[in-house]
Every structure is written in structure tokens, then in C-alpha cells.
Subunit: 222 residues, 2 copies
DNA sequence: GTCTATAAAGTGATAGAC
DNA sequence: GTCTATCACTTTATAGAC
């Protein structure tokens, strides 16, 4: 019988030949995962292609076949993870314009945003992008655009609608959104940017965010 | 006559022998200047000691005699420039508690701060520190402490006094200062952090800062 | 203290076999 | 597409002369 196991077989004994492009896709993903971990740990310059090679389990030549060079790998990996990261923030936007209790809705929204954006992995990614902006200005533009599309943009629309309905008095909704984000998310985020290990229990975080929303409403509630 | 110019002489023809420790001090300063420029351009890892050597005009061995290794050089250079940089912000603090027109004083203060902190060299330094925080947590702590001592600290004192006199209603002066900074300096600074080349004319900057101060006073003016 | 010259290790990238 | 083996170069750091 010619059933020596020279490879994986299915339930009928038929060899499973992985779709070549499928295997390539999995290797590509393994490279991306390894590269992201390495870039986050070491930054762009100190990250070595050798280290990414051993982390990923594929050969260095394969990495170069897929991504060309180190710069393109970096852009592909970081540029690819950015929208994914910010996607977590999207579900919270839609309820603002129709919320019965605007204050409670704003607190919930900004508190959720803050909890996500303070996550250590997202903070590390943020520091990495900021530190490499002179070398990769595209990433700064991308970060800005993504955070605008996913967060500020929808909120501006909601504030515009709320102003028309007389609930808010925000003649410049775009600036109002920037200010709301600054007084809420911005406060703990600034601390964590420079002191990643700074303690911040949930009660204190809630207090800061609530105070920021109240500050915002003291000026903008109609 | 034994006046062959084998070295610089003073007005009497007496050779000027530079104080050895003085020459060393000047070389040390040349190294620091060259290193700062190189680190700002390239970041920590990509900056090469060779490049710093040729920029500074001294030999590589001299740099190592002075600073030991690359990490210590980086810490000495960046840690040394931080207080110097933030010193520019100090003169503006003292007048707040006694200002006849608090709104105007706050606008002047935050506008001056913002103009300084948005300077390209300071923004680059900030990006450098943020990007290297995993490697050099001390710099994050230092940045935080320096900006606290030079800015927030004095303002907190002023707000405390103004609250006691009934001019402000700020039960938590430390948080109020964080919020004021966030709604003023923080708004354009966040944009410039990710988009160094973003245009921002002075009229628009003034509008943002003024709006931030008015937001602050809507909640905290007694 | 300062220099020149060099050591020892690591870098990004590629040629050629399969 | 993927691998092994290797190239050409740069890196940080130091030894030894002055």
C-alpha cells in the first residue's frame, strides 16, 4: 500500500496539498505578526531582520520576497494594524445624537474610548508611530486620518445635529470635538504617554472623564 | 627673539595656554551639540557614533572617555536639554494669581506656552523622548517632572489661591490645570505631533486657544 | 586628554539550488 | 515560493602611541 505518510491526509487518506497561495498567505501573516512584535519592542531601527526571521519561522529570503525591504515591511505592518486597532472604537459613536441623557452618553462614550486607547499595546503602537514620524510621515498622516474617520468625524456630525436641534450650542463642532477629546481621553493619555507604568485605578479614571464631560457641557450645553 | 607663534598669545605676547579642563569643557560641549543634532535627526538607534564624531570635530575615543557609551551619552544629552528647554516657559507663570483680567491673562499665558511648545525643535525632542520611552523610562519621568515643576505646579498654586479668594471655583486645582492645558496647548500640539508640517496660521491658533480658555472659564469662573 | 587604527560582532540584502 | 549560505558594509567600542 502506498499510504506512507509523506504529508497530511484527509479522512479518506487523500493527501492534503495546501493551496500554494494559502500557504503563502499564512507565512505572510506569520511574518507580519513577528515583525509587529519586534518593531513594537525595538523600534524601527533597532529591530533586526534576523530577529524577525527567527520569530516568524520562515527564512529571511522569504520575507524579502514578500515585502521587498525593511522600510516596506514596516509600513505594511504598522499601516495595516492601524485601522484594525481603531475599529474597536467605532461601535460607540452612533448613539450620541439620539441619546435621551446626553451627559451619561458622553461619559460612557469617552470612558470607553479612553479604556481602549490606554491599552498598553495601543499606547506602544502610538509611541512607535510618533517616534518614527520624521522617517515615515505617511504613518502620521494615516494615524490622523484613521482617528478622524473613526472618531472625530462621526462625533462632529452628531454635534452638528444636536446644535441644529438646540440641544448643544456648538458653533464650531469640529473644535468642540477636539476639546471634548482633549479634556477627557487626552488627560490620562498624556500621563501614560510619558509614564507607561503610572498607576490609574478605574475610580480615578472615571472621575477624570466625568469632570472633563462636565467641563465640556458647562460651555456647550444649550 | 623667541616669539615664533607656536600658539595663541595675548596682547603682551604671553602665550595663552587654555586651561586644560576648559578645553575639555569646550570639547564636551561640542560633543553634546553634535550628539543632540544627530539624535534628533536619526533617533537613538539609527544615530551613529561615527556621525557624532565627525559632526563634533573630536575623535571617537574622546567621546567615549567623556561619556562611557552611547546610552550614557544619550541620557546626558537629552536629560540635559530638557530643563533648559522648559525654562523658557517659566517667566509666564507668576502673574496669574494677581492679574486684574484673568481671562486675558490666561489667554496670554497659554498662547505663549503653545507658541514655544509648538517650536519644531521642541516637537522633535518630544517625539524623540516618546519614541524611546521603552528603552529610557527615566526620560519620560524626567519630562513629566520638569513640565510639572515648571508649568503645572506654579499654576496649581495660583488656582488654589484664586479659589480661596473666590475668583475661581476649582475644588480640584490639579485636575483643573490639566484640563486647561489640554483644551489649549493640547489641541494644536496633538495635531502637530502626528503632522509636523500641518499649517496653522497665528489667527487660527489664537482662535483655538481663546476658545479653550473660554471653555475652561465657563466651568471654573466663580 | 586626545588621537589613529582596528577589533569583533551584527546589519540589510541577495545568489543560486530546489 | 522557499530555503541555505554568504556578501559587502556598518556598528559600537577599545588598545596603544603621544
Amino acid at each position: 500500500m502506498a499510504d506512507d505518510p509523506s504529508g497530511p491526509v484527509d479522512e479518506y487518506g487523500i493527501p492534503i496539498i495546501p493551496d500554494p497561495s494559502d500557504a503563502a498567505q499564512r507565512k505572510r501573516q506569520a511574518i507580519i505578526d513577528a515583525a509587529l512584535a519586534e518593531f513594537l519592542r525595538e523600534g524601527y531601527s533597532a529591530a533586526s531582520m534576523d530577529a524577525i526571521t527567527s520569530r516568524s519561522g520562515v527564512s529571511k529570503a522569504t520575507i524579502y520576497k514578500h515585502f521587498g525591504n525593511k522600510e516596506r515591511l514596516f509600513l505594511a505592518v504598522v499601516g495595516g494594524i492601524l485601522p484594525t486597532t481603531y475599529n474597536d472604537l467605532k461601535p460607540f459613536n452612533s448613539t450620541i445624537a439620539t441619546a435621551p441623557d446626553l451627559r451619561a452618553a458622553l461619559i460612557t462614550l469617552t470612558l470607553d474610548w479612553t479604556r481602549i486607547l490606554l491599552r498598553p499595546d495601543i499606547m506602544s503602537l502610538r509611541r512607535l508611530v510618533i517616534g518614527e514620524i520624521d522617517r515615515f510621515p505617511q504613518l502620521g498622516q494615516l494615524w490622523y486620518r484613521v482617528s478622524y474617520d473613526m472618531n472625530n468625524g462621526p462625533l462632529i456630525e452628531a454635534f452638528t445635529e444636536l446644535s441644529e436641534r438646540g440641544v448643544l450650542d456648538a458653533p464650531d463642532p469640529a473644535l468642540a470635538v477636539q476639546q471634548l477629546v482633549a479634556t477627557t481621553v487626552g488627560v490620562p493619555q498624556l500621563v501614560r504617554t510619558f509614564r507607561p507604568e503610572a498607576e490609574l485605578d478605574d475610580a480615578e479614571l472615571t472621575r477624570q472623564i466625568t469632570s472633563g464631560v462636565d467641563l465640556f457641557l458647562a460651555r456647550y450645553a444649550a
